[in-house]
């Protein structure tokens, strides 16, 4: 009898954009996690990593952007419309 090893479901994490901030602003996730940012604000925002590894289009209200982190590291990001809005993803 052959038993197939079940693949662990891919981890996912959601970051909410609201009131000109990312929440949570800093998250720590395992390698392979897909992080989804959802804009709950009534203002357009973007999600852009400091070193341009990932970059969303302008997200209107309720629009989403996802990125899967395949390498460990620290990924600071910001909103290019409002550069004071910053966040960080730590991939372990």
């Amino acid at each position: 009898m052959v038993v197939k090893a079940q693949q662990a479901p891919a981890a996912s994490m959601e970051v909410k954009i609201d009131n000109f901030s990312f929440g949570p602003a800093a998250i720590t996730v395992p390698v392979g996690t897909t992080v989804t940012w959802i804009n709950r604000d009534d203002i357009p925002h973007t999600v852009v990593s400091d070193d341009k590894i990932f970059k969303s289009k302008v997200l209107d209200t309720d629009e989403k952007f996802s990125y899967t982190f395949s390498k460990p590291g620290t990924y600071p990001y910001f909103c290019s419309v409002h550069p004071k809005m910053t966040g960080k993803v730590v991939v372990q």
């Binding site: 203002i43 357009p44 973007t46 302008v58 209107d60 290019s80």
Partner: protein, 149 residues
Amino acid sequence: MPNPFDPQTALLAKHAQHVVLIHFPIALFITGVAFDYAAQWTKHRGLAEAAYYNLVLAAASTLPVLVSGIFAWQLQLEGQKLKGILLMHLVFASLSSITIWLVWWVHSRGRRREGALPSYRLAIEFVGIALVALTGHLGGFLSGVNSAG
């Protein structure tokens, strides 16, 4: 924490120039129109002169604002297709600028002809004020100034 008195901080701030420069045409145009309405009401030549020079400066100051706005779009958003509030802001900003230049042109032509300014200019100025107010309102939302809380 950046030093607010460091010129480099001010000049190289990420697309901050647009939100700084925009206050000049808004203030100059509203002041120019106020002087023009006052000049129309009082028939005072000095007020008409003040109106004209405010409108000249308002028209001139739209240029760096338009350039910095386009730079913010092309550099920060990499020129992507605009929609929603951003698109409305661009459209109303363009209409506002055209109206400010139109008002300046009507005044400039009237001065060259040394005749009375056409009274329809007051209606154009009123529309211009409404457009500027709407554009500024949308810009305030985009920058976060007009947000609730």
